[in-house]
Amino acid sequence: MEQALVAEAKDAPRAGDLAFDRLYRSSRDDVYAYVGSLLRNDAAAEEVTAAAFERAYRKRNRFDPERGEPRAWLFGIARNAALDELRRRGRQAELTAEPADLDSFGAEEGAEHSERRLAVSAALERLAPGERELIALKFFAGLENREIARVLGISESNTGTKLHRAMTKLREACDGHA
């Protein structure tokens, strides 16, 4: 449906604006979540999220629906912006990782939940950056495997395999932590 919406952008500028607006509304938090997981810095995540949407808005007429879904296209732009930001800062995401906020895990859900999520967070930290990105795209941004494949420039089956490996590692890390 989103593909069709963005495809309208080719027909009429006003319709294109509306389609982009819908894409923005449906993807704003997802893009922030993905970028935030890569940069591990709230201020940088906000900056890059805004820059990614700005860049996508400027390029909206160049989007080709035949080359993939609009969300994959948008996340590709966000990914490049985030990686450029990491390059610009000249340091790895790990170096700027902010400490996990225990309060954000929801104290009302109980200590068991909080402890488990802390363990998951710690296990996530131990994953390789590429694996962590896969997890972010899948569970933070909510992309389908074919969309992830498009963003990363790999095949869908390869995406599934890599994702499975990352989840296995994560689970083992969680078990080890427990």
Partner: protein, 375 residues
């Protein structure tokens, strides 16, 4: 991820999902509603440097305008109009080979004057060697003569070809006479032919006071369509000055001979002096005629006017401008434009290639760096 454990892990991961601050989300919503106005760390720089894609349009426009401009300049310089004025080194060059032997007169007269000067100098100085002749030839440029060059003698010649309809030839011919008389000129020779286009025409050999040549040519050009116009000048100051000097020398020699004649005591001596005197007087008459001829050449300009009918034979332009001319001009302009574009391409091509290679290299480097960030 089908097992309950995987689903639980997935739920835990989703719970770890970073969420934007409400203030940031509101601010971003506002910017989205405003169409994401450009926000840069360096606003001035962003204003000064548009994106390469946006620069492509004005750059292309400038390139096209530059090519058009150069094409126009080249076409104008190369083409020239039918009424443009040219100054060939030899006057009536085209006419010499056809039917105007008079056209070659200026140069032959000049050569004749030089030969006469050489002969006179040799005989007057009593020296017959080539060195003496060479000395005389150099004389006009020596400092001794230079102060006497108070007025330059310049011979002017012109050729004008007018295009006319056969019915207008007679009318145009009478206008030529009127124009010549209005400028105190002389019609030395004229001929008019009637008939079909290409056959009908007229030819005039005129002498126009040099001081009025420009006005006369303007008046003649206004008679009908100008197909071609050539003007030429020839500086005859040197032969004029030389002839004047020789004339003075001759007069002095005659005076001297007259004095010798008065002082002659014997009949034979008187006869010898009288013979020399007669020869010198003939020589002086020739010099005087020569000087007058030179002065007339400077005072009066030779003008050849031809009235032609039918299509112009001049491929460089002139005549009634028609479809053929338009096609010819268009082809010429296209050829020039293609040549200019080719030159521009030869210059810009390598630059564009280097820029493309630099851009591709930069792009590959950026991609590699992006991959490295997450490795």
């Amino acid at each position: 991820m089908d097992t309950p454990r995987d689903e639980k892990l997935a739920a835990d991961l989703r719970a770890l999902r970073p969420t934007p601050r409400p203030e940031f989300a509101a601010e971003l919503d506002e910017r989205a509603a405003a169409g994401f106005p450009r926000r840069s760390r360096w606003p001035q720089l962003a204003w000064q440097m548009p994106s390469p894609r946006r620069m492509l349009i004005p750059a292309g426009g400038i390139a096209v305008v530059a090519i058009a401009l150069v094409t126009t300049v080249v076409a104008i310089n190369e083409g020239g109009g039918g009424s443009s004025s040219e100054v060939p080194r030899s006057l009536f060059q085209a006419d010499k080979s056809t039917s105007a032997p008079e056209a070659a007169k200026p140069s032959t007269q000049y050569n004749g004057a030089t030969e006469e000067i050489e002969r006179s100098a040799a005989s007057a100085g009593g020296a017959s060697s080539a060195g003496a002749a060479a000395e005389v030839e150099v004389k006009p440029f020596s400092q001794e003569i230079r102060p006497r060059l108070d007025r330059r003698a310049v011979e002017r010649n012109a050729e004008l070809v007018l295009g006319a309809a056969p019915a207008d030839v007679a009318d145009d011919a009478s206008k030529v006479f009127e124009a010549v008389h209005a400028h105190d000129g002389i019609v030395m020779r004229s001929s008019t032919r009637e008939g079909e286009p290409g056959v009908a025409g007229a030819r005039f050999e005129l002498l126009i006071p040099s001081a009025k040549l420009s006005d006369a040519l303007a008046a003649l050009s206004a008679i009908d369509e100008v197909r071609s116009r050539h003007e030429a000048t020839d500086d005859i100051t040197a032969p004029t000055v030389q002839t004047g000097e020789l004339l003075q020398d001759s007069k002095a020699r005659i005076d001297s001979l007259l004095a010798q004649l008065e002082a002659a005591e014997s009949e034979s001596e008187r006869e010898t002096v009288e013979e020399e005197l007669a020869a010198e007087r003939r020589h002086r008459a020739r010099l005087r005629a020569q000087l007058q001829n030179l002065e007339r050449r400077a005072d009066y300009s030779r003008v050849l006017v031809r009235i032609e009918t039918g299509a112009s034979h001049d491929s460089s332009g002139g005549g009634a401008w028609g479809i053929d001319d338009a096609l010819g001009d268009a082809g010429h302009i296209l050829a020039v434009a293609a040549a200019v574009a080719l030159v521009a391409l030869a210059v810009l091509g390598p630059i564009a290639l280097v820029a493309l290679l630099a851009w591709l290299t930069h792009r590959a480097w950026v991609r590699r760096e992006r991959r490295r960030v997450l490795s």
